[in-house]
Amino acid sequence: MVKDIIRNMRKDFRVEFREKSALQIAFSFAFIATLSVGLVMGGASTGARERSIILWLIMFFSAMSGLAHAFVREEEKGTALLLRLTSSPSAVFTAKLLFNLAFFLALQFLITLLFVFFVEGDVASPFPFALTILSGGTALASASTILSAMAARAGVRGALFPVMSLPITLPVLFAATGATAEAMERPGLAPGGDIIFLLAFSGAIIAVSYLVFEYIWIDE
């Protein structure tokens, strides 16, 4: 199983880095969106809550543009059949989940750096802020992975993905924006309940994903 996962991840990284276009589009989107927001705001004074909402909206749409790709590409290019033939469903799902986590955490790193530089210079509690970004990103990536598998199999793909994702990821966005706003404005803040909620959400969604993935993955 572990060998299977490593084999699949190696293949995913190779294919994605050689194909380049999907990675470039996702990183370009994140860069342009953050930069545009920074320029449009032009140093205007806004509250922590508003800045936090803007940050997580950029994150959400970056996730929508980048995370669906892992499964959609397999269906569009017809390679899903080869994956079904060579790997167990749980190995395929784990490899895609880990790939999406690595990819989205890199994307978040870029967005957060740009956001702090262009929009919000000061973060009062950096440690809870970083933890919120990481746990929120994990929750978004976990939910997006199983939803992208469903969207890819449904055939509507690109258009369907954000529509399917919004109701599931709404609690993540609520919790993440609240925790991020607090971390931005309150110094000496200890990591709180929102971070625990985001981690618990990730755990629950991953557990459910393992239960349902085989039914999504194998053709009827």
Partner: protein
């Protein structure tokens, strides 16, 4: 070995066996439950009363099949009769609407996933265009022995000069050779091949038939085809539709 495959079709409740006797031996009266003899010592794949529908359209009903080593078997039938679908169901790539697929090892039922036991090639199967031929085989290989076998098969199927080329730059014929190598890579006891010679030149066809002839006594081979050459190579034949 007596035969490679028994296929019976029961369409709309009427038993309608459309099998052709094997060239060497007459087709025996035998059911899946009566599957005793030398083949019990190897891996057998059984599909029982398989029915498949796409939406409201019924593709086939009540198909039963048993495949074991001894001689390749062909499934023929007109376009849309469900040959490829049946092969995908046998390979565990598709769930049948009704019926079941089971593997027996040494006569004992084995319900785990089939991927380690089945080699599969089909026109629907696509390879990663961004990987080289060797990287593709390394991805499919289950162990070091399979990786070494990949190097040997790539030479045997005439692709050694293109081993480090990306699959996206391959012609359809070269792609087909690579698919067949991929199917044989892990030395699976069951080979399910959908039109194995499609897009191949004469040399490619010869290589395929040579390979299949060399393994037919130790592998259960089922070929879905309408190609007379492929069907003639098989020792048993059954028709869908």
């Amino acid at each position: 070995m007596e035969q490679a495959c028994i296929l019976s079709i029961d369409k709309d409740g009427e038993a309608a066996a459309r099998t052709t006797p094997f060239s060497r031996r007459p087709y025996p009266e035998k059911t899946m439950d009566d599957n005793k003899g030398p083949a019990q010592n190897s891996i057998i794949i059984e599909g029982a009363s398989i029915t498949h529908r796409f939406g409201t359209r019924t593709i086939f009903t009540g198909v039963s099949i048993v495949a074991f080593p001894g001689g390749p078997a062909a499934i023929t039938g007109p376009n849309g009769s469900g040959k490829s679908t049946l092969l995908e169901i046998l390979a565990g790539l598709r769930r049948p609407t009704d019926g079941s697929v089971m593997m027996r090892i040494q006569g004992e039922p084995h319900t785990a996933s089939l991927e380690r036991f089945v080699g599969f090639a089909s026109p629907r199967l696509r390879l990663y265009e961004e990987l080289t031929a060797l990287e593709t085989l390394d991805f499919i290989a289950q162990n070091r022995l399979s990786r070494e076998r990949g190097r040997e098969l790539i030479g045997r199927f005439g692709l050694e000069d293109r081993a480090h080329s990306r699959v996206g730059a391959f012609s359809t014929g070269m792609m087909q050779r690579l698919k067949l190598i991929a199917a044989a890579l892990n030395d699976p006891p069951i080979l399910l091949l959908d039109e194995p010679c499609s897009n191949l030149d004469e040399d490619g066809r010869r290589l395929v038939f040579e390979y299949l002839a060399s393994v037919k006594d130790r592998k259960a081979i089922v070929i879905a085809t309408n190609d007379p050459g492929e069907a003639d190579f098989c020792e048993g034949r059954a028709s869908l539709g």
